[in-house]
Symmetry: D3
């Protein structure tokens, strides 16, 4: 609706936004929109097993994850910020919440992407989602004391977790990322320690692409190699046309 | 997506489409789309209490409901067909299903509107919804023996029942019907026996309009008197843009 | 609310009403209300294993189940009717539905008790519940062609199935049946072939009684041997006092 | 059941109890019961947009909201207390929880009203509800160190949120507030900054009143202008009569 | 538990058992168990698009699907029966139900596999599942008039539908089919018209295999190329060991 | 699967593990497995009403509960540890979480038992469950700084709460504890202050035993006095055989 929108991605760890929302981000920036990724932590403890096995120090691991995430964001055409709030566990705090409110007011997102609210395999993901939602609500209130203009009501989408069914993740939006997929692939390749994930998320993009075609119907002429990403809306869609 | 779409509305009784989807229908025809309403029954037994109290015969009641529905459809710019399958109860049958498949193939809808799948107060509504969904699936199969081209995969939306929470109706689409509301109002006035419903559904349109504004955010400049209708999607939305 | 109410119990088989709703029935008749039990079948195939093992004929089994149910109903102070629609499976039909509508109009119940809508162990129970609900809706419509006055809107309660959690049975009403329990016990003893059930349902009454006390609070001075039955409402409670 | 009960209302902000439970409160006090409202905050940041726009100071806003809430409580015949715990966000704390336990023990409510446990639009509402429930449990334990008698087991009702379906709010109690409505109206008029809400909640009372009539049935002779409020039970109802 | 079990697979169409349960079937027969597949229809109308496009007749299509299914069953070491009840729609009937009961009594399965109860894309799948469950209940009743011994209580597992999340399919059993996968692959290759499915279901087996490893834990030494199939239980598991 | 497993039980209060999981624990130790019970608190405030009424001091109550729990654990063949984190409320903290992670790494459980995630009657139970789950996740991460080996992926089972339906507790595992029941009985008798619970949980064991038989089927020859305990899985079962 807005001529030039801004996507805000709230990611628990440094890599999450690449695997789960890389297509949406690349598609937005390709349309000329702004995309801002906020990594609440580097994923230094919970998602860096190979570096710990290699005997790296905490600071080295953080630096590595940061540089990888910066490269991946660049490949997607996105900006990236790091709040370094610590992971495993990612603990909510008044300060972290306030930082997020300030970012919302500064960035003025028209769309927000984050983790779903349930994940039996990773407590940081729901923690990040709750912070993202709570901060969005606070940023809307003129009485909340933070710099910047009051926020509108950007829609919030949850991106796909690793084991979707166990997270009660039922896709209600299937995003066609066929054109954006090469950029996502480049971004994934910025994370060389998780090479097995490249295949995994390519295969998932094919799977979701099959569903894009199945749900769109044959008459739209979608190509054989359609790729997709799945999302859930947290708020009802507002629209002028049912389609 | 299609330049000129076609909306198919599958309605259990002759009046349902007016109260619950009149705004969506009027908006579609105002955009130049085609709208085809299929009334499975006239609502002659279950939704014509005042006529029965007035001592009318079954045939008179059917004729009255038919002419009212024709007038209301005209006010919305829609075509209307009647299958006269009987109501209270509306019983599914192989023949009725086949009639619906044939309509799907003939009309080639790009969007389908019908009742939700649960209604503890009215068994005909879920019966109509199940028929609408089953027929849509059959019409997609080349092996199903009925005239006309095979159907694509039109999205299905459930319109709002009378007591939404009791029907597990959780709106995931809020449709702005502000511009279409005068036409809906005219259509409602074609049903004079249910005058108390005019106010009820106007008040509901205001209530859903408040939610349209609340969920769209203040920055969209929606007018004070925004009107809305609420819908649920049965299949995931397919899109190229998250918004 | 009504000074003298009437309870209608729609039971799939001849014994169901005793085990699951005997307390509620006895309590109602003790208050001077009327109770009418409708057994859709005798449970001759699905719930008469010991008689089949004993080599009884179908007609003998039906007669036995009928006389047992009559005795049990008498012990509860209730009337009982048998529709002999067959069980295992209990098949819905237009005729059976119509019989039920006619009973609703004749009996004019102020409260309805029946099975819950889900039971993975017994398809007849949900079938009976669906018939009971559908017939109640039809009986409310002046246009439905059946003798008798149009029905009001009696609340519907689901009684407890054998394996409640597997049937998504979450009690929202705990009925104190302490005073009515001796009558229920007598009614259970009218079903000698299922003697192991006497203990089972006495133990269940104790268990639900503990919950009655737990949820009522200590200040009500309920006795140590409080007995209970659990129910689910199908429609919202209408009341003038929150309590 | 108790001859003279006491209703405790736990409200996140100063105005919530008026819009959502004003009818229940006025009905209780009209019956001679006591009603005690506890406002955890004044709603000074999250629900006072017009005052912030008018340039008021935090202290002025709190004082204004307090005096309005006092006037509204008086109009409903209720007492009101303010815990001034801050809003947006309302943060749970050991101290706040302890204050609530002390109030429960002092007030000895026979009924508790609070917000539902889910609200995607306002994090303070669920926070208040969780505190109200947790404090109720603690107040029941003799081992919890707080003054006053141990609490019984008062039922807890959730009042209706602004967008009920999005909060998984499925009414299971419809309260007839027809007689209490004039008092609720007076109380609403004590909150002049939210004049648009007067209409909104009057319209909602009509809507819930229609459902009161629909679910009670025609035979009860409810008036045309029946008004209602909707509630959800958190614990099962304990009763001696199914009705 | 039983030394030599028997798996009964109730499949709506001729191909379903291959894609969705081929691994479980091959694993069972490799252990020396018996596997019996019952295809309620050939899938002649709904799942044979390419043959219809090629201008084949109904009888030719049925014959083709039958021979393919026989070959696939052989590759899995399973027997197969065809009830030819028609598809699109697969209509439940007393006769079909009775045929299934007779099969249950004859085959005496110790495990049952079938479709899940919900599928918004294919009405035949839930119809088959409901028949399979209803027939299992009837076959347990001594009073049901059919040849053979009364059935025990075999557990029922739902196999994975094409779009699992849309079918409320939440896997609660992850089956390791690594050793059985070559047989499944051979069976898939017996269905040459759906060659694109070979890849799709191989990719799914990898995906479920990743979850097998993730949920089993690293200490079990599962190989890198672990393959899996996902299932839902319809009844609670009975066991002597929690593991 | 492991030749000699280890069961870890995370219990909010000192008595919980006896009533709810005593059978599973006794069965495990009888098989030669190790069982380690961790009591987060003594239940000194919330579950020691009779001692408070008898005028005991806080320290005396803790000592009493500790010695009872030690005796009960001994009767079950289990070890027991006490973290003394306080109850009513049991407050989560970084320290408590860290203590649990350390225990996980030291004990290396192959199975975990804890409370379910919802309990409207007791906030400590879900608090304990959340801690148990979060600590299990952290203990799996090599980057989490705690002594001991990294944890595998032990399955987590929720044991049965006092009012199962109100806690959304739907048993998906029914454990046969017939052989272990005498040991459970002895353990219960170590808790003399709650003598009324002995009967209550014996009666529950009978009830769950009936369900064990019902779901296992008659062909397994289970004895008349089969006893059971009910559990819910938090993660999907991984298996090589569907049974």
């Amino acid at each position: 609706m807005a001529t030039k929108g801004t996507v805000l991605i709230v990611s628990a760890h440094a890599g999450d936004f690449v695997w789960r929302a890389g297509g949406a981000i690349a598609a937005a920036t390709a349309r000329g929109e702004r995309a801002v990724v906020v990594c609440l932590s580097y994923g230094e403890r919970g998602e860096s097993a190979s570096q710990w096995l290699a005997g790296k120090s905490l600071e080295d691991i953080k630096a590595l994850r940061r540089s990888e995430a910066e490269a991946a964001a660049a490949a997607l055409g996105a900006e990236v910020e790091f709040l370094d709030a610590g992971d495993y566990p990612l603990l909510p705090s008044r300060e972290l919440l306030d930082q997020l409110v300030t970012i919302y007011r500064r960035v003025q997102p028209t769309v927000v992407l984050t983790h779903p609210l349930l994940d039996p395999y990773n407590g940081d993901h729901p923690a990040a989602a709750k912070l993202a939602i709570e901060a969005r609500i606070l940023a809307q209130a003129i009485g909340y004391d933070a710099p910047g203009e009051v926020l509108g009501a950007p829609p919030v989408f949850f991106f796909e977790p690793h084991q979707p069914e166990q997270c009660d993740f039922k896709p209600d939006v299937l995003l066609d990322i066929t054109a954006a997929f090469p950029a996502k692939q480049k971004a994934m390749e910025c994370l060389p320690a998780q090479q097995h994930m490249w295949d995994y998320y390519t295969s998932l993009a094919v799977r979701r692409g099959v569903q894009v075609k199945r749900n769109a119907g044959p008459n739209l002429g979608l190509p054989v190699d359609t790729k997709g990403e799945a999302y859930m809306r947290f708020y009802p869609q507002v629209t002028e046309v049912l389609e």
